[in-house]
Each structure stands twice: as C-alpha cells, then as structure tokens.
Symmetry: C2
Subunit: 607 residues, 2 copies
C-alpha cells in the first residue's frame, strides 16, 4: 500500500456550509488550504433553507449576497394561526413583520442549502486558491505526540485520505496530508470527533417531525408567508415560503388524533402521510401538490460538543452541535462558526498574531451554541405545547419575539478576551455600540465621489482589522487639531512598532475616516492626506474618507447618532476582521489603541 505525503497549512474536512465558508475565508490568505469531502457531489435538494440577516451580511462581505438575493425569497411576514373553537377550523390570529427592520440591512432569506453551497463553490472557483476535492475520505488521524513524533513538527496533524469511489479495495490514491491545522466540518456524525473521542452533551426528546418541500396547490391565503399553525387535532405545523414556488412544511408527527404518541418510526412515514397531515392541519383550506422536491422525517435531538478544539483540530457546524431545524438556524450558526475561526487560524499561520487567540474560538462560539440549544428547546416546546393565542407567554410568537436578535444572528456578543476589550471602559464614546457585537451598518457618503455606501461594505472580509476614526465635525474648535495629533501619534506608534507585515508592504489594519461636517464644506487635501495610503501602483485610496452628511437622495447623515458618538468628542472604533467591535476609545487614546493591538499582534524589532 503506497501513500503519498503532502503538506498543507490548513485542512478542512467536509464541504457543507461550514466547510465551504471556512474555505472562502481561507481563500483570502497567502497560505495553502485543502478541502476534502467524502461525498461525490454537493447537497442536491432540501436540508437547511434559512439564511439569517447576519449570514447575509457575511456573504455580502465576500461579495455574494446579491447572488443569494437573486435566487432566494425574502421572509417578510410571520403569520400565526390557531383553532377557531366554534368551527374547529384554523383561523389567522395575526400577521406581522418577521423581524424588526432595524436589526440589519438584510432580511432573512430562504433558499435551499445546495444552492447556497453552489454559490460558495462558485466563489472558491473565482478566487482559484481552494477547490473542493470530492470523493475523498479521511480514514486515519494522527496528532503530535501520539506516534512519538517530534513535538515541534511544523505540520503536526497527519490525516490519511482515500478515495471513496475506489471500490476494488486498491488504494493507489491514498495520501497522507500533513497539516498545521485542521477544521472538522464533517457533520452530525463527525468522523473526526469520533476519532478524537471528544464528548458531547446530549439531550434526547421523544418528538419526531416531518419535513417536505413541495409546490402546493392550495387556497390557503398565507401560503407565501412564514406561518406557525396550531390546528388542534391536526397537530402543529410550520409553513415557509421558498424559491421557485416551493413551500416548506414542518409537521409534528407525535401526538394528535390517531397517531402513536412517540411518532412513527422512520420507516412508517411516507410523503403521502405528510401531505395528508398537512391537508388536515390546514382545514378548511384545501391542499394537494404538484411536485415534491424533497422530504424527510427526523427525531428532535440536541447535542453539543464539550470541547470545540482538540490540540490543532477545531470543530465547526454540525460536527459541534445539532438541534432541530425549526428556527432556521442550523446553516447559519455553522457558517458563523467557521467565519469566526478561520481568520484567527490564518493570522496565526501567516505569522502576524499570537496563537493564543485561538483560545477565543471556543470562548466565543460555545455560548452561542448553548443559546441555540435553549432557543431550540423553547421553540419546539412552543410549537408542541404552547398556545398560539395573542399574549401567550409560552407561544411561538413570544419565543420569536424574545429571540428576534438571536434568530437574525445579530445579537451575538462575544465576551471580553484578548480580542475584545472590557465593556465599562468606553461606553461613553459610542453609547449605542456594544463591545463584542458586530458593528451595525450605517449609510455614509464618500467624501470624494459622493457615492452613498453602507459602511459595512467597507468592512469586507479581507483579513484586515478596521480602524474607524470618527473625528466629529471638522469645523468645531479643536477638532482638526485633535485629528492632526492623532494622525501623527498613530503613524509614529503603529508604523514603527507593530507592522510585522511591513516587509510585504501590507498592514494588518485599514483606516477609515468618517467625519460629521458637510461634505462640500472643505477640501481634503492637507490634513486628510494622513489617511490616504498611497501605494506605488494603485494610487490614492479614495474609498476611505466619508461624511456623515445628507446625500443627494437624503438617506444619510445618521451614523454618529446611530452609534451614539458625540460630534464634539468623536471616537475610535476597532472592528476585527469579522466586523465584531474589539475596542472603542477616545481619539486621544492612541496608547490604549496600541495596547489593544499589542495583546495579540506579534511585534517585530526595528532593523
């Protein structure tokens, strides 16, 4: 048996949403990445279909949100249906917005998982650095120390990989991949976690649900709205509008008239059973179907891995946590796991930051998964046992309202760490921002060309920390001088001390200036030159100075107010490469800013 040996900085096992997102992130960095998947093709139909607002923001940071929007449908209305006691039929209790508008510039979108995977695969192809290697299965894993190998091996994880379609038992194409780091995105029955014997907390329940994606033929008036329906004897049901005239139905299989209390065995259910149940639950409305894209039965169980990391190996997505699909969260939390992780690993691999930051992965993501378990438990209970009536405290509406920010993915707030400053230090500077939370976007006007842009689009996923300088109104007394002092201090401290990347003529941060003066009221030439990073070939960077000023269409001029920044005092905001606010401080506090970066950026000596 011949094995080839190969070496890679990062190995990603599993090309579902978590693994593909990991690869998209890794494509931004000058390092080698391999992505293997034992299946021969991507997800074809069904499975996850909810893309929450935060995931849309992340996809937009890679420039692919508009592709999703062209294919997906928006989830705008949430409609609640209960039983009319007199007739026994269902009746609409209320219909309202699915989520508060102010949570994000993106609505929740609905699109099958395979289409999302394809968008990420196309992105990888366009970047050309990482390709999905399909039909490649990991079958042996060795960690440093296990085999008595040298502990300072640069590529300490060894993974033996074979082709899954190699049915004659010959393994000519077996390969041992030596990796610096590995991310296991290999799903609910993670091979990697089994190899490493990593324990999980498991919560079993006795409920089983059915799910189907069909093109319905119905007179139910809310068929294109997200509906929570409790039909009494007909059981509980969720309706979710989808792309291409599809509608997803979730159906409670246990309880209800004529069904076994623990729900059917998987072998007992059929598509016709599901259609029949849905038709009963919708009475007095009619339901048949024209086409079925996918259907399945699933018992509701929850599992959360105890450790997100084992040495150089990290778990993300379903490999770390599983739960019911009811809140539309699975694909999101999975992609957000690897979105949180890969920039940290990449910064370590490319040599610019202290490997200690890798500890923040579990610190930041496991509490998010714990909250997911709690939310999922409450939501399933609300569907199965709660009341749909207005004002009910254990009903679906109450749970959705309480967890609205969580469901949109924008409430997640990472705790203080070497990457997130302490809360109390700066609440006065940006009163409406919270350290550890992603920076909400605000519309601003480009100082030089007058284009209106979402600030978030400037915080794209390029691997840089983003320093946002809010000097205030440059016409106010002292503001200009204070900014001059800042520019001088910043350029002195930062260009001389912390630029480990300066040898490559790149910096680990980008700076943006957002002033609150009228855009037309001054010429930028003299002082603002400090913020124009002049590259030899690329010219003035025009895209980095903005005015919080009404634009021609009148939609701008609210950024300072939105962030709670005083126009006299100004302030500094540091966003991590994943847009989460890491540090906030006064413009005078360049020392504090340097202290923040010193915690994790590796200093190089002056030569």
């Amino acid at each position: 048996m011949i094995s080839n040996d190969s070496y890679t900085d990062l190995l990603i096992i599993g090309a579902g949403p978590a693994g593909l997102m990991a690869a998209c992130w890794a494509s931004q960095y000058a390092m080698t990445t391999r992505l293997i998947d034992q299946k021969s093709e991507r997800t074809k139909a069904g499975h996850a279909d909810g893309i929450n607002s935060r995931t849309m923001e992340i996809l937009d940071s890679f420039g692919v949100a508009d592709i999703v929007m062209r294919q997906a449908v928006g989830n705008m209305d949430a409609s609640y249906w209960g039983v009319d006691e007199k007739t026994g039929n269902i009746r609409r209790i209320k219909c309202q917005p699915s989520q508060p508008q102010e949570l994000s510039r993106f609505d929740q979108m609905l699109l099958n998982q395979g289409a999302v995977e394809q968008i990420l695969i196309d992105y990888l192809d366009s970047k050309g650095r990482v390709h999905v290697e399909r039909g490649r299965k990991a079958e042996d894993l060795e960690l440093p120390g296990r085999s008595g190998r040298n502990g300072d091996d640069e590529f300490p994880v060894q993974v033996r990989v074979v082709s899954t379609n190699d049915e004659d038992g010959q393994c000519d194409n077996a390969e041992v991949i030596h990796a610096r780091y590995v991310i296991a995105c290999d799903g609910a029955r993670s091979w990697t976690s089994a190899q490493l014997k990593v324990d999980s907390d498991v919560w079993k329940t006795e409920s089983t649900w059915g799910v189907m994606d069909i093109v319905p033929d119905t007179d139910f008036p809310d068929i294109r709205r997200a509906c929570a329906i409790q039909s009494g004897d007909g059981g509980s049901m969720m309706v979710v509008p989808r792309e291409n005239n599809l509608v997803r139905f979730y159906l409670q299989m246990n309880g209800g008239e004529g069904r076994s209390p623990n729900g059917p065995e998987e072998s007992e259910g059929s598509l016709e059973d599901l259609i029949d149940m849905a038709e009963k639950a919708l009475r007095p409305y009619k339901l048949t179907y024209k086409h079925c894209d996918w259907w399945s039965l699933y018992p509701i169980g929850r599992r959360l891995i105890k450790q997100y990391r084992s040495d150089r190996i990290f778990f993300a997505g379903d490999a770390a946590h599983t739960h019911s699909p009811k809140g539309g969260q699975g694909m999101n939390i999975s992609m957000q796991d690897s979105y949180n992780l890969v920039w940290k690993i990449a910064a370590v691999i490319t040599g610019s930051v202290d490997p200690a930051i890798l500890e923040t992965y579990q610190l930041e993501r496991r509490p998010e998964a714990e909250q997911l378990m709690e939310f999922d438990t409450r939501l399933v209970y609300a569907y199965e046992e709660g009341s749909m009536e207005d004002g009910s405290e254990d009903g679906v509406e109450a749970v959705r309202e309480k967890y609205a920010g969580f469901m949109a993915g924008v409430a997640v707030t990472y705790p203080p760490s070497m990457l997130i400053g302490k809360r109390e230090s700066n609440t006065a500077v940006a009163r409406n921002l919270q350290l550890g939370k992603r920076l909400p976007s605000s519309l601003v006007v480009d100082q030089e060309d007058g284009c209106v842009v979402h600030l978030a689009t400037k915080l794209n996923s390029n691997g840089c920390w983003k320093l946002l300088i809010f000097p205030g109104d440059l016409h106010s007394p002292g503001v200009w001088d204070r900014l001059s002092v800042f520019a001088k201090e910043f350029s002195g401290r930062f260009n001389n001390h912390l630029t480990s990347q300066s040898k490559k003529n790149t910096q680990p941060w980008e700076t943006f200036l957002i002033h609150s003066s009228p855009r037309s009221s001054f010429g930028k030439s003299q002082l603002l030159g400090a913020f124009h990073h002049f590259g030899t070939e690329l010219g003035w960077d025009h895209a980095k100075t903005f005015a919080d000023d009404p634009s021609y269409d009148g939609d701008t001029g609210q950024a300072y107010q939105q962030y709670g920044i005083d126009k006299q005092r100004g302030g500094l905001i540091v966003c991590r490469p994943d847009q989460h606010v890491g540090w906030v401080g006064d413009i005078e506090d360049v020392e504090g800013l340097e202290r923040y970066f010193s915690r994790f950026l590796i200093k190089t000596e002056r030569t």
Copy 2:
C-alpha cells in the same frame, strides 16, 4: 477551396457592446443565433466607459446590473471649473449632482468597455445558447435576388466567413452561413455597410482630442468627481473618475498656447504630451501619474447612416453612427439599438408577430441617433467655445442640464407606430406617463409575501409583453365588479383569439395586478385567481399581485401617484418587451387592448 454551408436564424457580426447585447437578447428565444467577431479577443482597456441609467436598467432586466455595480464607480458629482482672472489659475465654479435623482433608480456608472463586454460574455455563457466565435471574419455577402436565387429562400442572406488567424491563405475553415436575418454590429468602419454601399451623413470638424486612463498622483481636490474644466491657455479638459483608482482625462488638442490650430497629427502626440497638457490645465494643482491603462488621440467627426436596414440586414451601434465620446453615450446608444431590435426580429422568427414591426427599428432609433448628433455637437462646442461661468447659456452645464434625460437614456420617446399607440387617446388614464417612453419603476409590495420590489424588475427581458392592471382601491364601490368584468372579458378575448403560442403553453404576454388597497385588508383567493396563471409543474405564480401600500420599511405606496393613475378609475398599461409603454387605456377598454395587440400579433384560427 471548400466551403461548409450552415444555417442560422440570426447572424450577428461583431461582438462589441452592441453585438453582445444583441446576443444576450437572442439568448432568450428558441431560435439559433451565431455571433462572429474578427478580433481574437475582447476589448482589453480604455474605449467607452460610461454606462447611463437606462443601460443599467436594461442590464438589470437581464439580471447583471449588480455585477456592474460591484466593479464600476458611480458618477455622482458634476464639478465645473473656470479660470480665475486674477491669478490665471483654475477655480471651482460649482459642484452639483450629476443628474436629477428622479430620472432612474440607477445612477450613471463608469467602467471600461472591456469589463462590460466580459459581463455580457459571462451572461451568454451562463445561458449557453450563443457563444462568441472569435477570429471569424465575414468576407462575402449575398442578398436574395442578387445571385438570382429563389426569392422565397427561408435563409436568404448568405455570409461567407473565414478565420482571421489563417495566415497561410488556406481556407479549410471557410463557411457559408445562411441566415434569416443579420445584424451588423461591426463598428465605425463597418464592413457590412461598405458591402451594401449604404450611405451616411457625415459631418467633419477640425478638432482633435486626446484621451487617457491613468492612476494620477495629484492634489487636485475633485479628482474623484466628473469635472468640466476650462483653463484658458491650458485648454479644455474633462475628468471622469473610474474603477480601480483610474481617472479618465479628455483633453482638447487644438487651440491654446503653443499648439497648431488644428491640433496635432496623430503621429505627433504622445502620452507625455497629454500628461503635460493635463498638468498645465490643472494649475495650480500638481499632476503626475503612476500607471497608464490606455491612451489615444481622436479627431472629432460625426457620421449617421441613412438607412438602418437593408433588406434582411440591420445596422446597430457604431456601424450606424459615430460621434465624439464626450457625453459618455456611445456604448449606451449602441447597446440600446440592439436592445430595441432583437426582440422584434426574434418575435418575427419565432412566428408570433407580423414582420412589418421591423420597420419600427429605423423609425425609433434613427431619431435617437439624430438627437445624439445634435447633443454631441452642442457639448463639444460648449467645451471648446462656451463659457463655464454660472448662468452661461452655451456652457457645458447648460447643455448637460438641457439634455439630462437624454444623457441618462430615459427621455427617449418612440413615435406612434403599430407598436406605440397615439398619444392623445389616454393621457387622462395615466397622467404622468408618456406613450413610447420606458415605464419608470416604482416600489410596490408583493401582495402575498410582503417583499418590496421595484416594479421594473418584474418587466425583465423575457420577450413577453407586460400587461399591468391597475384596478384602483378594491374596497371602493364598483371597483371589484369592474375588475371581474375585465378578467372575464380579457380571458375570453385573449385566450381564444390571439394565442399563437398557446400550442407551446406559453403566452406572448404576462399580466400583473397592482391594486391600491391596504395589503392586509383582503384575501386574494376568489377573484384574484383570475390573475394567477397556474402551471402544471410550477405552481401558483405568486409574484404577480402587488399592493401600492406602505410596506414595513415605509418606502412604498406611491405608484398610482407616480404614474398619475386615479384610484377610483384605475387603468391598464401595456409595456413592450423592452419596457416602453405601448398602450394605455381604461379597464373597461378590453376592445381597445385587443385592437392594440391585433395590429401585430399573428392570429391563429381556433382548432
């Protein structure tokens, strides 16, 4: 010499913007299309760079406007500079929006022609029906009758095509393409028009301009704004911000100190001369450059072909008209030519409409080109001779203001014809619309899922006529009944008489309902069923009923007002496949509607 014979419904000669747009349109239809170009690759740099609002709308109708927006820069500010008499330096006279916001939902964008071509090529590849055949040159052309062939030949145009890279004179790959129709998009020195000896009107001038795309190094404060600069001795100059930190400069070569009055010979100019002139024109500001992407010198001349059509051959783009690039119009008018033409040819080829509609091509597009000649003449005069001072009547600002709608591409109004109804008949129904003009978009709310959409996105380039039904407020007395009568009448007259495509289960029109009642105030089920076209596999078409009602974000509810439609009276609007309004009438006037379609749709007998 062996020639292969092949047959195609449509042959497009030339794969510049006009030819590629023609191919994108042709990709929508079940017909065969060939696209040949004698060059071996697309435009690499420079050339046209302005994409006006109407072109953006057209690109959006193919789903590719967002790709342009990711690559291009917006042209937001128009800045005017003149000479300060005291110092002799230039000074800013004013800066204002480049065009009125209300003209279109898209701003003018700036991007090099090659990038636009690539976006269209990628679109063709994604559709898979038409591919660019490069290095293929037409070298002989025969029309019916010329060679004594049978006049009722189904493929009457014969074009002999050879490979341009076949340098040894052997023509193994020569081919005779027999086509039903040909579109000549072969540029300013059109081979096709020379073959056919089609005459042009020609206006020569004595002015020569230089153009360059550079990454400048300058302290000129408006370097990211579109500037018109008159620097006295330094001559006239235009500055246009571009993608990737590029800036385009247009420089007047004749006149001015130390230059020959008629401008240099092409051989005399150099990039260094242009840089030198630009630096002089910008004084007191400094200018050097880091990178030059492209530069050229061009004499200003205008040419307009007398006939847009010769038998089965049509001319589009530069093959029909040439002019100066100053207004940023060239690429737009060219693409708009073929956007006007191809749906007509395709409808004739696929058999649903009377070939007489092809006469409207010249009728509609030549006046547009005539206006282009007039605008270009005035604009060049304004740059060279007019005054930049405020209030000047022959200055650049005055010309731009007068032609704002023309420059944005949204003012074009096609005259009455078999495709455009007479103006006087319906001004009362939609007071703010003009027959022959493209329908401006309005934000509406999807009745069923609550998504906010631009109505224009529903009028996409799929080849259908679009019937927009504005019933008014469905709660007003009589409105519901009137709509019922309309639905019955329409379905009776149209389904029985005019559906030549019904054999393929497709119709030449799509219907949309836009009511002005509160979205939540009624269930759509009963009557609106009339407007839900139920396909066997695809299900209810949910995307065709809209409310002109405030949405969750408050941006909607203005459509009736914008179009000038009375909420009691309602109205009908027919848009052609290219979004131009063809007919407007009362809801009661189904007979008038039928009369409109009867003018050009070919009737099939009931079987």
